[in-house]
Amino acid sequence: MSVVLETKNLIKRFGGITATDNVTFSLPSGARHALIGPNGAGKTTFVNLLSGVLPATSGKVILNGEDVTEWSVRDRSRAGLARTFQINQLYPELTPLKSVLIAINERENAATSWFPRLGSRSDLVDEAAALLKRLNLGDRMHERVGSMPYGLQRLLEIAIALASKPKVLLLDEPAAGVPEGERDQILDVVAALPDHVSLILIEHDMDLVFRFAKTLSVLVNGALFVEGTRDEIANDPLVRQVYLGEEVIAHG
């Protein structure tokens, strides 16, 4: 299987702290991969290095065979890497329709047209509306984003990321902070994502991880602790001790 995203000896230091410690990782295309680890394991830092929000101290990030380590967030996005954020990064004053349209406009290089009215490219608007419908946001596409329930805002995060038709999608705790009753909606959307999108899920919630991911990596203190299939990880005594054990204590 071909590899879409790799890192080679990736290191990120903040002063004396090594947040990402020599991570060599590869993501096959079409993967359903979860990245787990205890609090402070460096999961979000790793995602920020992959998406370009943070510059790496050393090492490489390779996307579709190209070294993108020095690339900006914007260039990586155009090369097919999309992400959602752990904390919502939306446009609170706009509507879901406009939020998604913005991303589609960028993808189609339509965002610099300044004279035709907004909405005159009905093909792009219809695509945005269809995407929102697919994610159960169809009947709220004209609402103000900032006034929508949190769970729907999380869905919109995913919709915006999908609008750029990514090859790789990084989902940073998509269900974080979502009330129990609304979680299933998000899980369904994640489960229904098309196969050609390769996914990395960063998650705390073990139910979600084991339901969704086929392969897992466990990150501890910034370093890759172990990698394997769902069953391997679930039955790995070391993982149970280091990570799952802590979860039990934290919940108990």
Partner: protein
Amino acid sequence: MSVADKDAAAPAVASTSPPTPAAEQSPSWRLLLDAKWRWYEFAFWLCAAASFWVFPKKLMLLSEIFILGLLALSIDLVLGFAGLVTLGQGAFFGIGAYAAGLMAQAGMGAFPLSDPLLGLLVAGLVAGLVGFATSFLVLRGSDLTRLMVTLGVALIVEELIVKFKDITGGSDGLQGVLSSPVLGLRSFDLYGYTAFWYSLSVTFVIFLLCRRLIHSNYGLSRLAIKGNPLRARAIGMPVNARLVSIYTISAAIAGISGGLLTQTTQFASPDMAAFHRSADALLILIFGGAGYLYGGLLGAVAFRVMQDFLGNITPQYWLFYVGLVLVLLVLFVRGGIIGLMMVVRDKIFPRDDKDAGGRP
């Protein structure tokens, strides 16, 4: 097809025509509705034109209001629609003022060089060029950095104008700026007839262009940058390039408004690039309401009317009241005069739907 407001008011029984066909309810139709002209927009421009007959003795003041409104509109493009704060718009105003002035002077009031429209074009180009060159300074840093950088640029421009006496006339200003007749038809006169219609027309045309710009895909991407630059980058938007282009456009419009003032008053002075010019323009925009396109124009009217009215009562302390109103508006109403009007409207016509689109 009537606007959403009117639909709600219309009786439900009467409509013989079937409810809106599917095409009119489509998402793109909803977006196109954003750009629709509303009755109050027609009203605003009609009032602007009618002021010619209502205040025939105050034509120079009126054209100055249009010019100030245009300057404030140029700030609205960067502040209200892209989230960039600036305290240096006076720099581009001044550059435009001198560019148009020097052009007219070089032409000695005769056609090709002293043509006012050509002068405005040059004023816009020169100011836009300087805007482009300095736009890279506002890409970095926080709002505070931007305030200081733009303020610094404006101070430099003002000093350069004073310094290059031979060209600019130094602190005495540029005297005897004579333009050839507008479109070869009418010269600028003492009463301000030509100045009024000329300023109004230019302001209106540029306003129309800005309106199209705001209601386009390009305008939407500005709102994305203002709303969340991190997200805008993450979906692949070249945020910096967009900011450079909007800053350049804004500078060009400020330059055109400066050119207008020089041409209509037949005089340019370093005062046109002074700090108070930038501060006034920003104040006018906040006064009127940033992010609504009309904020600058309404703010300019309110500001000048207050100045005129209060200036007659307390010539020395009128700024006290301007300050008071500003503090009250900013503290208690979001969106200045327009925000206030929207609060009043929502009190009188409460609305139950939560739609964000449709209303300004």
